[in-house]
């Protein structure tokens, strides 16, 4: 693994997907993968194949829905979009994450 890259933390992929869909609206799997890599400046090592089981899981939980559509390259692709329940879930998880990150920060840099 090249230096400076790190694996996506267990459990954070869901949050990243939900946030990306909220920001950009409906996206297909490839679009999501590209976007996540752009946002993270290629620091995050995304195993793109794992995106699909994650999307299925989110869909089963009712947080996202999907339907077939046309991609920019006129390819048939499945587009995912956030549901109302997904938005609520995103708010809750964001809050949780911020609280957790704050705690981690205080733990790691107690002097500041």
């Amino acid at each position: 693994m090249p230096a400076g890259k790190s694996d996506i933390l267990q459990g954070t992929l869901d949050l990243i997907v939900l946030k990306t869909l909220e920001t950009l609206g409906p996206l297909h799997g490839y679009g999501l993968a590209v976007r996540i890599q752009q946002v993270s400046d290629n620091i995050l090592q995304l195993n793109q194949g794992t995106l699909y089981p994650a999307l299925l899981r989110l869909e089963q939980k009712g947080w996202i829905t999907s339907k077939w559509g046309e991609s920019d390259n006129n390819r048939r692709a499945r587009f995912y979009s956030l549901t109302r329940a997904g938005k609520k879930q995103l708010r809750e998880e964001t809050a949780d994450w911020e609280r957790f990150a704050g705690v981690m920060q205080r733990v790691l840099r107690p002097a500041e």
């Binding site: 993968a33 299925l56 390819r75």
Partner: protein
């Protein structure tokens, strides 16, 4: 979440839709990646590889996706099932044999259980049926008189109610012609004791019993209300004619309630105080108080809330003794109380035979399971390379175990499905056989209810455990190198143990069958002293036509006179005995200074009876018409009894001693078994039926040759005497006798079937084990033959293996069989349970079958050519 559950289930059952979507998505993703790489100047092949690198491993991603999309465990079961079905198709002989033996085993068990269930396990549909008790003495149900019941009921504080009922058939006129209805004469406590509620109107109380003289009333069942009155709401207060007398309907009982005997549903309850409508012999006899003299009523009681069976029995015994003492009777047996939740079981006596057959069929099923276990174990060994390969390439042990279990379960499911069909067939055949002689209103019914379904499920589950466990354990111990040597040895030992168990169990089944068949043969070949197919028995009751007292006897005389004039009829007479149940036992006191009391049958007959049954008067004379009106009673005894009781003295003019009375003997007749073959004692005392009080007699007609073709003519002739007095039943005595021992016939027939099945299974079992040994040792045998082993040596090689199993099986089986068949004792006739001849025949039979099964594989062993044997593998 329900939606995801459903979508996962859907995806499990139809995985192709989800697969297509997954493939399209991933293919699309890869093509976008490829397009981008191409745009950056890579060649097609490089672009493809770069895209794959960026995407990451495709198959693991798909597997992860599938784990979420479907239920993998369920999917595996489906896969195992498909594999199992393919396997069973590949090996149809094995599958058919396994399914067939299971089907016969499960089918027989289910059918017999449904009989046991209907006969022994049902409860009366009344509240708190488990608080009901039956009054018995020396384990036999006792019958009490009307006064006795009421007196005991009044005093017994341990009982919440004590009631009596007497089952009888009455003739009812709903339209233009009379028909028979199954009814009960009941005491005033009947409905109170059983806690039956009315659906309409009200039910009988003691007051109705006391007032019954003027305006008789009755209660009808829901079934009768629906079938005869079409559920008319104004049925209460309507009048129906029972035995030609008008009765007012005062109520309809709850739906589902049909009297106190589940095997003989009753549609009508009549006050016991109307007895004389049905037994007119008691009319006009001065000073005959039937209420205290006739011990007629089967008794059922309900315990008080605080009482126990023991405390109530103690109290009843004491009260009964006091009651009888007040009536100047000092003989009073202890009263026992037995479980009454299943009601009075007075009609069909099939409980014991059905339980015995259920036991035997369970043994057969055990044998079938043991047999299947050996077959499956052999197959496991044959497939050990398949399993070893699967383990070697990373298949999990759990999946192999699951595979083996699924295969066993599949066999059980097919076996059960086929078994239910077999059960239905057996049930129908048995029912039609048992119901042959029963009048239409008393047909035996067997219901397939929840209990039976639970039993089927339980029994097929137990089967899977019995024959599936051993192969599963074997599978669990597989290693990638094939089964370990220890495992193979354990497997072989297990197979042999199963064969030993089969042999041992088959001894029990075959010995039981031998004894029961012996019983049937003894019954069939017994010399009755007459030809039962040449005599017809007509059951007709003058009371149903409204005849009372002397009119009833006149009616019988008219019937007999009419029948005698028919061509083809040689003789006719009336006598006691309905379905051979009309006999009494009595104990004659010993002659002065000689021996113990003599137990004899007592039977009432009218003049002409002996001639009808072909019995010869050996000394003295037959009864004649004047005897009936004679004050001094007279008796005729059988030759056998004459010899036993009077020895060499001439019995004519001497007396039988009975309860302090002297009964004069006027004649001696040759021995006939007119009570059917079951009656062991040919010691019978005949009394003139005209002197006895009986309201229903049987008309016996002897024909010139077989009677069956003449039955329609007889029926017409009897009907012409009085169309308003219907015939209840008419058969040849042959049919009557067969009807009286249907249970012996069923026992003999089914147990033979089970014995044959058991022996076939045992033969198949031992054949299978030996052939398997032979297959494994073909090389060894070939080498031995090549080195000069003689045929004797080869036979010895296998014979020792077989002999060990046979000897062990016999040593366990014979004592077990002898112990087990003691339960048959009450069902046997003319053979003791430890009859040495039957035992010898049974051992010979099993050993012969086993030896036959051994011969085939051993002969094959002898034919092994060394060349061919060495080339194996």
């Amino acid at each position: 979440m329900l939606r995801s559950l459903l979508s996962r289930l859907f995806a499990t059952l139809l995985p192709q839709f989800g697969e297509r979507r997954l493939n399209q998505e991933i293919e699309g993703h890869l093509s976008e990646l490829r397009a981008r790489q191409s745009a950056q100047g890579l060649g097609p092949e490089d672009a493809r590889l770069a895209a794959r690198r960026e995407f990451g491993p495709v198959e693991p991603a798909k597997e992860l996706y599938r784990d979420h999309a479907r239920f993998r465990a369920l999917e595996n079961v489906f896969r195992d099932l498909r594999f199992a079905i393919r396997q069973s198709r590949k090996n149809p002989g094995f599958t058919v044999a396994a399914v067939l033996s299971l089907a016969l085993g499960i089918g027989a068990n289910t059918a017999l259980f449904s009989f046991v269930n209907s006969i022994l396990l049902r409860q009366l549909p009344v509240p708190n049926a488990n608080r009901l008790v039956l009054l018995k003495s020396a384990r036999e149900p006792i019958r009490l008189s009307y006064d006795q019941l009421n007196e005991l009921n009044r005093q017994a504080t341990e009982l919440a109610g004590l009631s009596g009922s007497f089952a009888l058939d009455v003739s009812a006129n709903f339209g233009d012609h009379p028909q028979w209805i199954s009814a009960e004469l009941v005491t005033g406590q009947y409905f109170h004791t059983l806690q039956i509620k009315p659906q309409r109107g009200r039910l009988l109380t003691q007051r109705d019993l006391d007032d019954s003289a003027g305006s008789p009333v009755c209660v009808i069942s829901d079934r009768l209300w629906q079938s005869q009155f079409q559920g008319a709401p104004d049925v209460i207060g309507r009048s129906i004619r029972l035995n030609t007398r008008p009765y007012k309907i005062i109520g309809v009982a709850e739906r589902g309630v049909a009297g106190s005997d589940l095997q003989r549903p009753a549609d009508l309850q009549i006050p016991a105080t109307r007895l004389v409508d049905y037994m007119p012999a008691f009319v006009g006899i001065p000073h005959f108080d039937w209420k205290s003299r006739l011990s007629l009523f089967a008794s059922i009681a309900r315990l008080s809330p605080h009482a126990s069976r023991a405390s109530a029995a103690t109290q009843l015994t004491r009260l009964n003794r006091d009651y009888l003492k007040s009536k100047k009777k000092d003989k009073a047996a202890d009263v026992e109380l037995a479980d009454g939740s299943a009601g009075i079981q007075g009609f069909w006596k099939l409980g014991k035979p059905a339980s015995i057959l259920l036991g035997v069929s369970l043994l057969v099923l055990l044998i079938a399971c043991a047999n299947l276990a050996t077959l499956l174990l052999s197959r496991m060994s044959a497939r050990s390379s398949e399993f070893a390969l699967r383990l070697a390439i990373g298949g999990s042990r759990r999946r192999i175990l699951a595979q083996v279990l699924v295969e066993s379960a599949l066999l059980a499911v097919f076996g059960t499905a086929a078994g239910i069909t077999v059960a239905y067939a057996i049930e129908q055949v048995l029912l039609s056989f048992l119901n042959r002689t029963a009048p239409a209103i008393h047909q035996l019914h067997v219901a397939l209810d929840g209990n039976v379904l639970v039993f089927v499920a339980a029994i097929s589950g137990i089967c899977i455990l019995l024959f599936g466990t051993a192969p599963a354990l074997q599978a669990a111990r597989m290693t990638p190198l094939g089964s370990s040597p220890g495992n193979t040895r354990a497997g072989a030992a297990l197979r042999k143990a199963f064969v030993v168990a089969q042999i041992a169990l088959s001894f029990v089944v075959v010995l039981a069958a031998g004894l029961l068949v012996g019983t049937l043969r003894n019954l069939k070949t017994l010399d009755l002293g007459y030809h039962p197919d040449e005599i017809a028995a007509i059951d007709i009751r003058p009371a149903s036509g409204g005849y009372t007292g002397a009119q009833a006897n006149q009616f019988y005389v008219r019937v007999v006179d009419r029948v005698r004039t028919l061509p083809g009829v040689k003789a006719a007479a009336t006598a006691f005995g309905i379905n051979f149940a009309g006999r009494f036992n009595m104990k004659l006191d010993p002659q002065a200074g000689t021996g113990a009391p003599l137990e004899v049958n007592m039977f009432g007959v009218n003049p002409g009876y002996f001639n009808t049954f072909g019995a010869r008067i050996l000394a003295g004379r037959d009864f004649n018409a004047s005897d009936a009106s004679d004050k001094t009673q007279s008796y005729i005894i059988t030759e056998h009894l004459a010899k036993r009781y009077f020895h060499d003295r001439n019995p004519i003019g001497r007396y039988l001693l009975y309860e302090g009375r002297k009964l004069p003997v006027i004649g001696v007749v040759s021995d006939i078994r007119d009570q059917g073959p079951r009656e062991t004692s040919p010691d019978t005392v005949y009394q003139d039926a005209g002197q006895l009080l009986s309201s229903s007699l049987m008309v016996y007609v002897r024909c010139d040759g077989p009677c069956a073709p003449l039955l329609p003519t007889l029926r017409m002739a009897v009907r012409n005497v009085d169309p308003n007095t219907p015939i209840l039943a008419m058969h040849t005595v042959q049919t009557e006798i067969e009807g009286a021992f249907s249970s012996e016939q069923v026992l003999g027939l089914l147990s033979t079937l089970f014995a044959v099945l058991a022996m076939l299974l045992v033969a198949a079992g031992i054949y299978g084990v030996l052939s398997y040994t032979l297959t494994r040792r073909t090389r060894e045998v070939g080498i031995r033959i090549a080195l000069g082993a003689s045929a004797k040596d080869i036979v010895a090689l296998f014979a020792s293996e077989a002999a060990a199993m046979i000897v062990l099986g016999t040593l366990i089986g014979v004592p077990a069989a002898l112990a087990a068949v003691t339960v048959l004792k009450s069902q046997l006739f003319g053979v003791p349970p430890d009859d040495p001849k039957t035992l010898a025949a049974c051992i010979g039979c099993i050993l012969a079958v086993i030896l036959l099964a051994c011969i085939v594989p051993i002969r094959r062993a002898l034919r092994i050519a060394p060349q061919q044997a060495l080339r194996i593998e």
